[in-house]
Subunit: 194 residues, 2 copies
DNA sequence: GCTCGTTTCCGAGAGGCCCTAGGATATGCC
DNA sequence: GGCATATCCTAGGGCCTCTCGGAAACGAGC
């Protein structure tokens, strides 16, 4: 019998695709093996266990999302960059719900593996450079980065969970949210808070 | 043999407590049964299946969170109400991580059951009434509600996922975030966006 | 207090998923 | 071609989900 030519990479991609189709919690070793035309035991040569697989999917997704945002914001600044950044984030979440969830769910990731991944680190750096045009200094800069990331993530998470009634479309709110965040960054409160 | 006196309610509470202790995805029929001193088969009289149990946990958690916020904001207005609301939200998420996650994870909830639950509906109403002091009119009001809920949820989710490095404590960023949101509500952008 | 219908709980068991151990075979290198 | 290594599979144990049918407790009415 010919070998299937599995690698950790291929197993991870198959798992990520499965997650996008049926949900991250439905990603099982058995199903991934079936999709790859292989017995489940064969996967353990490339991936430690299910937890490890999910961690790899999370790192893969973080990389892909970062690349997507980087491409979208290349050469832009100010509000243009903010809007491009935010839209790329949201579109990634819509197109890859399973991958996206993997980036957010609290997952124990193999530290050795995480050290090699550049996605999460670059993502934060991207946000910093996008904010440069607003002229914020530390520690406000860090806080602003966190507010943006919180709002973007919170929005798509609530959207995915069906948290928005149908009266006003998410798209309308989304556009206004970006306006509001832009205004917020220009009027960032001075001084330390209580 | 005496009966155990199970009800759907008791099973749900046991599941919610378990979720807070070991994580929502570790909530199994077997473990809940063990905690209740009962065989797993006995649970199926009160709960349709695991999915149904998780849905009930979500509704229970939504109710509890709403009550918590309602108590915290009673009699307050303006920024005081905003801060009390936000802190109650975050504290609930910290103290009941499993319950909180149940409210956010996309779960198929039995429509019949959801119709009886008042939590999610009241939660949104609470946010509206808290925003009254800022004098926003529709549709800005709806958008503002969604921005606040997105930011609160996104913040605690990123916090839970370990998304904040150690340089600046989440608490510091949290306080500044509330300042920023307060300023944002007072300078809510006029007119429709592109 | 007895009977009878209803509800609750359990034993047994099928099927699926996770993971390990050890064996068989394909592959790459000499 | 022969050998060392890595890949893949068979077999199997353990835990979880869920169903079915039976037994026992409960409640109502007499």
């Amino acid at each position: 019998m010919a070998r299937a030519g599995l690698t950790a990479e291929r197993v991870t991609v198959a798992g990520a695709d499965l997650a996008d189709e049926v949900g991250l919690d439905q990603v099982t070793m058995s199903e991934v093996a079936r999709r790859l035309g292989v017995k489940d035991a064969s996967l353990y040569t490339h991936v430690r266990n299910v937890e490890d697989l999910r961690g790899r999917i999370a790192l893969l997704a973080a990389d892909e999302k970062t690349v997507r945002i980087a491409e979208a914001t290349a050469g832009l600044a100010g509000k243009d960059a903010l809007v491009a950044y935010a839209n790329a984030w949201r579109e990634f979440a819509h197109e890859h719900p399973g991958r996206y969830m993997a980036t957010q769910v609290p997952i124990r990731i193999d530290p050795e593996l995480a050290a090699k991944a550049t996605g999460p680190r670059r993502a934060v750096e991207l946000t910093y450079s996008m904010l440069r045009a607003y002229g914020l200094a530390e520690p406000d800069l860090t806080d602003a980065v966190r507010v943006l990331r919180s709002t973007f993530h919170g929005f798509v998470a609530l959207e995915a969970a069906g948290g928005f009634a149908h009266a006003r479309t998410p798209q309308q709110t989304w556009a206004r949210t970006l306006d509001a965040l832009h205004v917020l960054l220009e009027h960032w409160p001075e001084g330390e808070s209580v």
